[in-house]
Symmetry: C3
Subunit: 204 residues, 3 copies
């Protein structure tokens, strides 16, 4: 039986892949292209993190991420007329995945001996770089920096992780609180349309 | 004298570089920019592969790739009015390069001790990531996922490589069959306008 | 007290970050997004270099680059109505940074045992890849290859570095001459609107 963390990991991978597959389809990518974009969205952030930590990219160590992405593609193909009505469910999956990805990114960086501030950066990269790569490949401006607080939710999660460590909480509670904070920030930001202000320059 | 593999490698680099240089020129890049885009198109896939395998990027070990790209730039400058009529020849060169790049990518990954499925992924990345980077830099949506089967041809080549290994063929025949299958898939796809279906979502 | 090299490094990081922050703001990125783009512009080139050299990305070893970028963001926010009038000052800062980045990139590659031609490539990547990443993320065609000689100035700096080494100059003078040559090329190119020719293909 797979444990809870693994389950969340697959749920997150599934939701991230679906977001990539749907945006790629909207841009007339073929099935294989949609699959690749879905895969990049799901594993891109962790890959960048692993390259910076000088580790072998995590998805090269087990086939499951390729399979989950294949399942996501199948899901979009089969339920193409219903996917749009599942937006709320997919959003929750995406938030769960984001929370877990941040926690995994922070934890792995600490394991590799980096200080907390690097771990927070790596957590943020794990959570949001996949979405940035997706938007770059489908030739759109990155949504992660314009839509309801996304990348910043990763930073918040990293800081909660830090505080939990400072408070000497167990690893389990630290991970739980950090992931939950990411999920909460995302849900609140979307529900109440909270966005960061945009920087305007007097261009006159 | 250079051997057959090296010759195919240079032919492929040349063809890939030309595709980058031409698309960059169409976007009003200057000579140096066209050179860089040509170089990225030719060596980008192998570079991503080497970073993931934790190897030194292959082009940093010998100057030949810089020279072949310089030769491709010179070629486009000198024959600028004839290049368009050479499209068929360049296409064949490009297909030969793709076949070789896939074989090299698969082989190197196996040498580094990765399992076959990772090697197939790396062969596909070696063959198609350069083209994706080219399209990202010139700000176009990646062609490799929308034009006649391109990235998928790399996967096919990787699978043929696998079957040849399972059938205990010698390395030479394995490489030959795998490369030929990539080239054949590309030629057939272009000749008969075979494309993968596009995924459409009911956006209503 | 910080030394002269460190001061130039911070000045360059500051100027590069400002260019990223301003372009991101023009694209309606929120504050956090503008910060990230500023950071990527400033450290992106060195990060790519370090990944290729198989070194830990330099900004993961000290917090200063995050702080300088934060200061750049604050600067743009506070002086938003005046920044446009400071364009000349920012241009000089940017040129100083470019000169230093190239010198640092060349020096680090030589330290890692690579030959001079690789070091020149790495110096060029250090100086110009951050700007390319910035343009990719904000979904514009890379300016570094279309505006007054930018990436080529890095190559010139690398070649001057090489000649200085051949002439047995001390490290200090080598660095000084190489950085100065980059700065001079940039200032002359902008002042006299010198650009490389654009490659045109007869598309008829």
């Amino acid at each position: 039986m797979i444990d809870f963390i693994t389950l969340c990991d697959y749920i997150g991978t599934f939701a991230f892949a679906i977001s990539g597959i749907r945006l790629a389809s909207a841009k007339q990518f073929d099935w294989f292209g949609a699959y690749v974009i879905g895969f990049v969205t799901a594993v891109g952030g962790g890959t960048i993190r692993d390259l910076m930590l000088n580790a072998t990219p995590f998805w090269m160590l087990q086939t499951s991420y390729l399979w989950v992405t294949a399942f996501a593609l199948l899901f979009v193909i089969v339920f193409r007329n219903y996917v749009i009505r599942m937006n709320n469910t997919i959003f929750i999956f995406d938030a769960i995945g984001l929370g877990l990805f941040v926690v995994v990114g922070v934890g792995k960086s600490l394991e590799f001996g980096f200080p907390m501030w690097v771990a927070i950066c790596m957590g943020t990269i794990t959570g949001s770089a996949g979405g940035m790569m997706r938007d770059v490949f489908i030739n759109e401006e990155p949504l992660v920096f314009r839509k309801d607080i996304y990348a910043l939710a990763c930073v918040v999660g990293g800081i909660v992780y830090w505080f939990c460590l400072l408070a000497d909480l167990s690893t389990t509670f630290t991970q739980l609180f950090a992931a939950t904070s990411v999920i909460l920030v995302r849900i609140l930001a979307v529900k109440y349309h909270i966005s960061l202000p945009v920087l305007k320059e007097d261009s006159e």
